[in-house]
């Protein structure tokens, strides 16, 4: 069997794996990225919304992946009450609608330029593990059996992560911690290209939401996420079809893409063990409230890449613990807070969403503070305070 030798072997060629690879190769170590699909960035499994913060992370050079610049987000409660936020305030997924294929390819181009080897059509099948450490990975490359050896291995293999399982990290998700998604890219629609729209409600999208992310004024990603604990067979698709049927500006749209996806909305899991590191969706770094994961995959990927380079340089695996510290510092608090919010929001009925929207619809979000929010709730819907106390306290 043909064997490839590297300092580090990364399973998964999404944002997490590609950014990790870039920082390892930049430090002068050899690294391979194994991607099962035949092309980086394809198929797209994403709503393609991302915050402008992506510009500050320094991971791209070209900008051809920006399809549309967004002014703000609009959230609609079940009775149609609208809450508007500027892009800066709305966070995670508001700022740009991107071409995810081009975005991932740009990350791949840079990783490759820095020296990383990228293997497409390379499915990592199993690992040979000794004493809790992976020694080599068996893969199918262009349909042929091959082996990859390395000192450190990275699971950047997305929501489905198997790498964690190989070293006994439990990556299974409970139904309340995973969202079942379905999305169309619709052309020949009429949409306001300045806004990303979110529709919430127990009856509309239980435990999740419906999104409209415009790529231009006639094409948009229209998708739905349903919390798996509320899901029934094909429910995501049925609810989305129903929603589209009721909206004049969407009904005539023609799907140019269909996709199903799974989004972890869990607390992060153990992110390293032995000589293995998990990054991005594999580490459950997706924002549990919004389901956005691109930015976190990039942030975690950089910390992972820099830490792994140090561990290789000093030949000390124990340094990998710095990775867990590093990402916790940057996104740990936010993940925990938003997990709590998700747990709470997934219990809201339609009326609660309506009251909440009514309470905050006139607030200027540039100035919104927790105190301001409490004040608004006290004056308008005091009963909500009780529901929200676990967050405010």
């Amino acid at each position: 069997m043909e064997t490839y030798e590297y300092d580090c072997v990364i399973v998964g060629g999404g944002p997490a794996g590609l950014v990790t690879a870039r920082y390892i190769s930049e430090a002068g170590f050899s690294v391979a990225v194994l991607e099962r699909d035949r092309e980086i960035g394809v198929p797209v499994l994403c709503g393609e919304g991302v915050s402008r913060n992506i510009d500050n992370l320094g991971v791209t050079e070209r900008r051809d992946w920006v399809e549309n610049e967004i002014v703000g987000a609009r959230i609609f409660s079940p009775n149609g009450t609208m809450v508007k936020m500027s892009a800066e305030r709305a966070g995670g997924e508001t700022g740009y609608v991107i071409d995810r294929e081009r975005f991932d390819k740009e990350l791949a181009r840079i990783a490759a330029k820095k020296g990383a080897d990228i293997f497409v059509m390379c499915d990592a099948k199993k690992a040979n593990v000794e004493g809790g450490e992976i020694r080599e990975i068996e893969a199918k490359l262009d349909g042929k059996d091959v082996k990859f050896t390395g000192k450190i291995f990275v699971g950047a293999d997305g929501v489905e992560s198997k790498v964690g399982r190989w070293v006994d990290i439990d990556t299974r998700l409970k139904p309340k911690d995973i969202v079942s998604c379905y999305e169309y890219t619709l052309s020949d629609v009429e949409c306001d290209k300045d806004y990303t729209d979110f529709f919430v409600g127990r009856s509309l999208a239980p435990g999740g939401y419906i999104w409209i992310f415009p790529k231009s004024d006639d094409t948009a990603n229209v998708g739905i996420g349903v919390l798996a604990s509320y899901s029934k067979s094909a429910l995501a698709k049925q609810l989305l079809d129903k929603f589209i049927e009721k909206k004049d500006f969407l009904r005539k749209g023609k799907p140019v893409r269909k996709l199903a996806g799974a989004v972890p909305v869990a607390l992060p899991i153990q992110s390293y063990r032995g000589n293995v590191v998990l990054v991005g969706d594999a580490a459950r770094h997706t924002d549990p409230l919004t389901g956005g994961g691109i930015i976190h995959a990039v942030i975690g990927g950089r910390v992972a890449g820099e830490t792994i380079a140090r561990a290789l340089r000093e030949e000390k695996l124990s340094l990998l613990e710095e990775y867990e510290k590093g990402w916790r510092e940057k996104i740990g608090k936010k993940l925990e807070r938003n997990y709590k919010m998700k747990e709470l929001a997934s219990t809201f009925d339609d009326k609660t969403f309506d009251k909440l929207a009514d309470s905050v619809k006139d607030i200027n979000f540039e100035e919104l503070s927790t105190r301001g929010l409490i004040k608004a709730l006290v004056t308008k819907h005091p009963s909500l305070l009780f529901k929200l106390k676990s967050l405010i306290g």
Partner: protein, 59 residues
Amino acid sequence: MVKPEVNRDSCLGCSGCFTICPANAIEFDGKATIIKERCISCHTCVNYCPVGAIVVEGE
């Protein structure tokens, strides 16, 4: 209960069923396959599938 099956033609490859199966009874290689010997017929995957590609025979 009956063990479900994946209709590979309608599977869109989201991997959710693989990630959610409590019994590790699903294999995923871009599409899902249920390993009947390990399946405990809990139907978690059936309910999960966003497009209804996991079916129970006779339903």
